[in-house]
């Protein structure tokens, strides 16, 4: 127990200022313990042994009271046994008590220790700066935490920076590459721009010239400085400039790329020296930062234009030459046909006279040869007309079944000769009355059937007619001619409808023919608005077909006279016995006239012939005729003029003599002219006797 001296201080008071103090006597027995120390370690209490509760860390090697006493001026560090805590303080010998007094407090190096030891601030003496130390330590910890946080953020930011840096580097590399490419692109553009074979001008939306290539400058004869910044209209002849401004303004509002081939025709450019030259242009545009920019390619087409002109002239000359040739051929054919008709006609007349067998056989050969030649001439004539663009189709109402029947009758004769079977089939739904050119239809069918018969040695030839469509008063009719002939190779099929083509030369030698027939057929079918074709297999046969749209006939078709009717006509005239009907024939050609006169005589008419229109007019004035057969083409006064005169006379005298035109062709233009001058009917050359009979009968039987 410490005795109070000048400042009396009780153990409790001592405990308040040194709550962790303790006293121990020379036997190393604890005699007094501060309240906080007792709180810290309940084992440390009065009567307890020093060394059982403490280990002296400093000063070192103190093992007993004496040694401790000797070192009492030193700083003592005591390890509290059984607890992880050290006490820091000093020893003070209290002679009055013969004991050593330890004054100190726990040595705390971590604020966490307070809690771990179950202490609070109140357990420390107010003057004790252990808490302050802890606060400093705590501040240090906080600072450390701040630093660590900063370091962490710095590391993150560093990483972020690196990332950004890398990204920036990458972007810079990309940009650099893009710049290089751009530069390269610009260089390439520049090279292409300058090396272009056309003149190029780049124009702003305002119409000023922004850029030109060297070629343009040489085309127009300007220097670069003279054109840059100038209106593009300086390159255009003044007469077009105003229009061009309007066009350019419109283009800026609705820009559209335009290739060279679509440039307007007849564009002209203006050189610096005032001369003009023809150009073609193409336009392309782009929206740049400066606004719309238009690139114009300008091609000088002077040479092209000249070449086109030369070509056109050459083509015109060729067409003209071809035309002249066709006209010549047509004229020649006509000229040949006229005497040929004479030969055939007279042969016919001769054959009706009394002949022996030999004579008849020879005459037949003459007639057949003539007919063949006429056939060839007709083909040449048609081809010439086609090539000269002179072939015109007739458009009249006709009876399809009659036409087919006629064709069939005609061809039956030939099939019989070759012992072939001709089968004709018209499907029941095929309209009978059509509007078109029956003559040309007949021509096509005769040609196809003729070929089929020609190239078929045995078997059948079939003509089939089917309705493919019927709509809006239009009937599309399919015609096919099928044979069991030699057939045609695929190679030849493709060329078959070209003029002057035959299956091959040997075919031509063997079967004859001009090789024009199918080309004419094709042209006729095309003129009718249809198409023609062939399916064939060599050795098996062929099927030629064509399909043609016809308008339906608008009027009822008068039925042609039947054969039986015709037969009755002839005797009726002859048997009449009275005055024979008087007929005037106006025909300049002697052969034709002879044939016609013979025919009229045999038909039982009293015929009189004159050789031109003037004579015909005289005869008309002198005599009364029941009918006049009027050739259209005659010297001095032709048939048309003569008819006009006759009709003019009749206007005054009254009466109407039927005038039947004898025409070289059945062209509608010729017929129209016949009707316009007042003719009543027509018959085309060569004159068919039976047709002549029926026409005359039709008019003669009518009352005046």
């Amino acid at each position: 127990m410490v005795s109070p001296h000048k400042v009396g201080i009780s153990p409790d008071q001592l405990s308040t200022v040194f709550p962790f103090h303790f006293c121990f006597d020379p036997t190393l027995t604890l005699s007094q313990v501060g309240h906080s120390l007792a709180l810290l370690c309940p084992g440390i209490a009065e009567g307890a042994s020093f060394f059982e509760n403490f280990k002296i860390e400093r000063p070192a090697y103190l093992v007993d009271f004496e040694s401790i006493l000797k070192q009492s001026h030193q700083l003592f560090i005591l390890q509290v046994k059984y607890l992880d805590v050290k006490l820091r303080g000093q020893m003070k010998y209290v002679p009055e008590a013969g004991s050593l007094l330890f004054l100190g407090s726990p040595w705390l190096t971590d604020p966490a220790q307070i809690g771990e030891l179950g202490l609070t601030i109140s357990d420390f003496a107010t003057h004790d700066n252990s808490i302050d130390l802890l606060q400093v330590l705590q501040a240090q910890n906080i600072a450390l935490a701040d630093t660590q946080k900063l370091a962490k953020r710095l590391t993150l930011q560093q990483a972020e920076l690196k990332k950004i840096n890398t990204a920036m580097k990458d972007e810079m590399a990309v940009r650099k590459e893009a710049e290089e490419k751009l530069l390269e692109g610009e260089n390439i553009f520049q090279i292409l721009f300058e090396s272009a074979s056309d003149g190029i001008v780049i124009v702003s939306a305002k119409g000023t010239i922004e850029m030109v290539n060297d070629h343009l400058l040489s085309l127009f004869g300007y220097s670069r400085i003279e054109v840059l910044g100038q209106p593009v209209e300086m390159l255009i002849p003044s007469r077009f400039a105003e229009q061009h401004v309007q066009y350019r303004t419109g283009f800026v509002k609705h820009p559209q790329n335009r290739p060279m081939s679509l440039s307007k025709p007849d564009l002209f450019a203006l050189r610096k020296n005032g001369s003009e030259f023809p150009i073609e242009t193409s336009l392309s545009y782009v929206h740049s930062q400066k606004g719309l920019v238009v690139m114009v390619f300008i091609m000088d087409i002077t040479e092209k234009k000249q070449a086109e002109k030369d070509l056109a002239e050459a083509r015109d000359q060729a067409i003209e030459a071809s035309h002249l040739k066709s006209e010549f051929l047509a004229a020649m054919s006509h000229e040949i046909r006229t005497p040929m008709n004479g030969v055939i006609g007279i042969t016919d007349l001769l054959m009706e006279t009394a002949l022996d067998e030999e004579q008849r056989k020879l005459l037949k050969m003459v007639k057949d040869s003539g007919a063949s030649l006429l056939y060839i001439i007709n083909d040449i004539l048609d081809t010439s007309k086609i090539e000269a663009g002179m072939l015109q189709l007739e458009n009249i109402d006709f009876d399809l079944s009659s036409e087919i029947e006629g064709v069939s009758d005609l061809m039956t004769i030939r099939t019989k000769e070759k012992q072939l079977v001709l089968i004709t089939q018209i499907q029941s739904d095929v309209p009978r009355h059509l509007y078109g050119d029956p003559g040309r239809l007949r021509q096509i069918l005769i040609n196809l059937l003729g070929n089929a018969i020609k190239f078929t040695l045995k078997g059948t030839v079939e003509l089939q007619i089917e309705l493919k469509a019927l709509k809006d008063q239009k009937a599309t009719i399919f015609f096919s001619v099928k044979d069991t002939g030699i057939g045609i190779s695929a190679r030849v099929q493709s060329e078959l409808f070209q003029p002057y083509r035959q299956a091959d030369q040997s075919t031509a030698r063997k079967f004859g023919g001009t090789g024009l027939g199918l080309a004419i057929c094709r042209k006729l079918v095309e003129l009718m608005g249809g198409s023609i074709g062939v399916d064939s297999q060599e050795g098996i046969g062929s099927r030629f077909w064509f399909i043609v749209p016809f308008d339906l006939a608008t009027n009822e078709i008068p039925q042609p006279l039947q054969q039986e009717d015709k037969k009755e006509l002839y005797p009726s005239c002859k048997e009449a016995g009275n005055t024979l009907p008087k007929i005037l024939l106006a025909e300049d050609n002697n052969v034709n006239a002879l044939i016609a006169m013979k025919m009229l005589e045999r038909l039982g008419y009293d015929a009189e012939r004159v050789t031109n229109g003037r004579e015909a007019l005289d005869a008309f004035n002198r005599n009364s005729y029941r009918l006049i057969l009027m050739d259209c083409q005659m010297p001095e006064m032709d048939g048309y003029e003569t008819t006009c005169e006759i009709r003019a006379i009749e206007q005054k005298t009254g009466g109407h003599v039927p005038i039947v035109a004898i025409t070289a062709s059945a062209l509608s233009s010729d017929l129209e002219r016949c009707w316009s001058v007042g003719m009543d009917d027509h018959i085309s050359k060569p004159i068919d006797k039976q047709l002549l009979a029926s026409i005359i009968e039709r008019w003669v039987s009518q009352p005046f």
């Binding site: 604020p111 808490i131 302050d132 606060q135 501040a139 600072a143 953020r153």
Partner: protein, 180 residues
């Protein structure tokens, strides 16, 4: 003002709102400090600006912000920043309040540049005491109220706070009568 205060404002905003709001507040206050160092002193103006700016952005009054901040300080900042030392401040609300003046006295010693507020306890009783708050910084009364409310929460003790004398009403300090 101690950096920890500004840092606490930041933590409160971020924990109760988000980073974006804090950045907005900082931008509005025109403060470009990236990180507040806890033990560094910053001009008081920064704290005031942050409070005003936070009030505007969060659509609160500055007093509401200060009070919320005081609560946050005690319940989050101090335990996390001071840890066991804060816990060692007292085993009970009463202990803590009694130690509060010494606590600030020690701070003043350790951080001489700081000018901490002065707390004085009078009339300590078993369930009440008078807390006198003197500060060189005006306008922080609400912050102290928040701190006291926070202590009540921390020590799970029902604490009644009555502002007996107010610096705003002309007194040289604020006096609170605390009852629990």
């Amino acid at each position: 003002m101690y950096g920890m205060v500004n840092k606490a404002v930041e933590e409160m905003v971020i924990s109760q709102f988000d980073d974006e709001t804090w950045e907005k507040i900082k931008a509005k206050a025109a403060i470009d400090v990236e990180i507040f160092i806890s033990n560094e002193t910053y001009p008081d103006e920064i704290t005031y600006k942050l409070v005003v700016s936070a009030a505007e952005i969060l659509k609160l009054t500055p007093d509401q912000v200060l009070e919320a901040f005081g609560i946050h300080w005690v319940c989050h900042t101090a335990p996390e920043g001071y840890g066991e030392l804060f816990t060692a401040g007292g085993k009970t609300l009463s202990d803590f309040l009694v130690n509060l003046p010494s606590f600030h006295s020690r701070i003043k010693l350790i951080f001489p540049k700081l000018d901490p507020p002065i707390f004085i306890i009078t009339e300590p009783a078993d369930n009440s005491l008078s807390l006198h708050y003197y500060s060189p910084r005006p306008g922080l009364t609400s912050f102290v109220i928040g701190l006291l409310k926070g202590l009540g929460i921390y020590y799970k003790t029902q604490l009644d706070i009555v502002l007996v004398n107010s610096s705003e009403a002309g007194s040289d300090h604020d006096e609170f009568l605390l009852t629990w």
